[in-house]
């Protein structure tokens, strides 16, 4: 019985952890690679989730519809970055604190617009596989978690390959390392950063769709996730894309174990404790380079 419980807690933890990783992936790009502390990212994800519910109500599958939506988010991300860099980067200030405040204001505005548009009530999607489970021996995995969880390894792998093997991807990593290095090679670092921020925003559309399959969301659902998403990115190590998946799963499994064998009441403290412990004892994270 204990073993069955353990196996199921771990499998649930892995599934939830994958979803956390999907949520944090955009942040791993914008914060981890570009060093832009976009605390509005979870709100972008929630916006993606609402977009998915709108199309779901017309009969589309939320995950499929999130692919074209990702393109829209990519464009919106670029436009938003343009706005951001006009305010900051061109002012010649690298005032992270001011940037944090800007993103804070942006997330408030987005949340309020969502409330005014959709109301403060919970919204959910209607998909066929919700309510059914995949049973593997003693382990029962609800499709409601399994299918969105699969999104994370797919996105992580795609992004990792992109960053490793494409010209633009390598340029993004170069920008992360040293902006000046790039201007020497004749690529516009501004364009590369816009592009990378657009990718970060695009992931929000997909992970938003994943999130709303897991459970109903409201416009303020992002707030619960800010701490967790940053915990994933920092635990992974700044800029480590595969690390994001590992860190998300680590947090997810720990939460599930605390919930199953300790008290579920303490589960929200897990991510925070891991975040603080990382900052205090290993600021470079699990897979990050020393900074």
């Amino acid at each position: 019985m204990i073993l069955e419980l353990l196996a199921n807690a771990i499998s649930t933890g892995v599934l939830l952890g994958c979803i956390y990783a999907a949520l944090a992936l955009g942040l791993a790009v914008s914060f981890g690679l570009l060093h832009i502390p976009n605390i509005a990212h979870p709100v972008f994800v929630v916006t993606g989730a609402f977009a998915a519910t709108v199309f779901n109500a017309m009969g589309f599958d939320p995950l499929l519809v999130s692919l074209p939506l990702a393109l829209v988010f990519y464009g919106a991300g670029i436009a938003f970055f343009e706005f951001y860099s006009r305010i900051y980067e061109k002012r010649g200030e690298s005032d992270t604190m001011q940037a944090l405040t800007l993103f804070f204001g942006v997330s408030l505005v987005i949340e309020t617009v969502l409330v005014m548009q959709f109301g403060a009530d919970q919204r959910s999607t209607d998909v066929d596989y919700v309510g059914q489970s995949l049973t593997l021996g003693p382990v029962v995995m609800p499709y409601r978690l399994l299918i969105p969880a699969l999104v994370a390894p797919v996105m992580v792998t795609a992004l990792w390959l992109y960053l490793k093997y494409t010209y633009a991807g390598i340029a993004i990593r170069a920008v992360a390392h040293d902006e000046r290095a790039l201007s020497v090679s004749g690529i516009d670092p501004g364009w590369i950063k816009r592009h990378a921020f657009g990718i970060a925003a695009a992931t929000a559309a997909i992970s938003g769709a994943a999130l709303v399959i897991v459970g109903p969301i409201d416009p303020f659902a992002g707030r619960m996730q800010i701490g967790r998403a940053f915990a994933v990115v920092i635990l992974a190590g700044m800029g480590s894309i595969p690390g994001t998946l590992a860190a998300g799963i680590l947090i997810g499994v720990t939460e599930a174990l605390v919930g199953a064998f300790g008290s579920p009441s303490w589960a929200p403290a897990v991510a925070f404790t891991m975040l603080l412990a990382t900052l205090a004892f290993k600021p470079s994270g699990l897979f990050g380079a020393a900074r």
Binding site: D121, G131, R144, G259, P264
Partner: protein
């Protein structure tokens, strides 16, 4: 706003009724309170008002925030000079208000403030909702009456870390003890938990006969889904009890057939034992407004009792023949008031003397059309016995598969 400074007691000047509404914030789904009140106001004014004076509502948005309450009610009382108060929604928002109401000796109708007057024991406070006496422990007693009747002895208690749920869970334990039942599992979980698989497995391992659940809308959804996904075992006859959310159309619509078999509380269900023409007429008028304003389309839970709040005020004012607060309270303490939700009699701290919290079991739900919930037989009333419209189908696994 010249009305603020006008004397409120002049002949023909409106009788002012003040309250705050959770138009925004966490409790904004309760804002249909206002519609219920407005429908009552329109009815009363059409019939010539109270004491020959029109009725006027003065409302503010309290943002579902406790911190807003003291200053807003002070404003209602001291600046707007309202004659009668209605409490904000629920016990949490009403709690900071009670000492003030008692100290100033005001007349107030409680809106869903469960056990809201049990500590203060103010003698000019009356509940519009039929929680009954000692409601902190007793409001969900019906669940345990049903459990007892069906031979349940092993009870599991699960609750969200939220005010209402914790209170309900505390009462549940007490009643279980009283009925000689064993609490074999007790757990609380943080709000916004979206996966209950390990919790459900832990419950299953204890083979309880009944699972008393005190949850909030998002977790009610996740729990019901979890039931379908990982199951709960054949031992469970009764599942639910205090699941907030199952009173509202949005959740009913999104869960649909997954609700079958679950037992939860309600204050009104369109069963033949309960429906009356006034209530039905009220609900059909409400539906029209709700459709325009995007409110809960069913409106079984809150709006009727906002209307009841108005009816109680009307009875008190007409019975007293004045706005004298002591006289108004005396009327409600001494006479039975006929409301759209049935006859109301009050004890000395304003509880309905008869608890009329329903325990309903969801049955025969097909598809996700909300309109089906307006038909009889979808929410079968198991308790109280006076309103019973059917018997429990058990165990839960059978009720869900049928």
């Amino acid at each position: 706003m010249p009305a603020v400074w006008r004397t409120a007691h002049g002949q023909g000047a409106p009788i002012r009724i003040g309250t705050t509404i959770c138009k925004t914030g966490a409790l904004s789904s309760t804002k249909s309170t206002l519609t219920g009140l407005e429908l009552w106001r329109d009815d009363v004014n059409k019939a010539g008002g109270l004491l020959g004076r029109p009725v006027e509502l003065v409302t503010y948005d309290d943002q579902s925030a406790v911190a807003q309450i003291p200053s807003l009610y002070s404003k209602l009382v001291d600046i707007d000079k309202v004659d009668v108060l209605i409490s904000p929604y629920g016990a949490g928002l009403s709690a900071p208000l009670m000492p003030f109401v008692k100290q100033r000796d005001l007349f107030m109708i409680g809106m869903f403030a469960l056990a809201g007057n049990d500590v203060t024991r103010h003698d000019k406070f009356f509940h519009s909702a039929p929680w009954g006496p000692e409601s902190k422990t007793n409001w969900a007693r019906g669940f345990f009456d049903v459990a007892k009747k069906n031979g349940c002895s092993r009870i599991a208690v699960l609750s969200a870390d939220v005010e209402f749920a914790k209170t309900a869970a505390g009462g549940a334990e007490q009643i279980a003890g009283e009925y000689g039942m064993t609490v074999v599992y007790k757990q609380s979980y943080p709000p916004a938990t979206n996966d209950f698989s390990s919790i459900l497995r832990n419950i299953k391992a204890q083979t309880p006969d009944a699972v008393f659940v005190c949850s909030y809308p998002p977790d009610s959804t996740a729990l019901v889904r979890g039931l379908s996904e990982v199951g709960i075992g054949d031992s469970v006859k009764l599942f639910g009890g205090a699941m907030v959310g199952t009173q509202y159309a949005s959740l009913l619509g999104s869960l649909g057939p997954a609700l079958n078999g679950i037992v939860s509380f309600a204050l009104y269900a369109p069963e033949p034992t309960m429906a009356n023409s006034e209530m039905t007429a009220f609900l059909s008028r409400y539906e029209k407004v709700a459709a325009e304003q995007g409110l809960d389309p069913l409106g079984f839970y809150i709006p009727p009792f906002a209307y009841v709040a108005g009816q109680l005020i009307a009875a008190a004012v007409t019975g007293a023949g004045s706005l004298d607060k002591a006289a108004m309270a005396k009327v409600l303490h001494e006479t039975e008031v006929k409301t759209i939700a049935g006859p109301a009699k009050f004890n000395d701290i304003g509880d309905w003397t008869e608890r009329r919290v329903l325990m309903v079991q969801f049955r025969d739900i097909k598809g996700k059309d909300v309109a089906q919930f307006r038909q009889a037989g979808r929410q079968v009333i198991l308790d109280p016995p006076s309103l019973r419209s059917g018997d429990l189908v058990a165990p839960l696994t059978k009720a869900r598969s049928s």
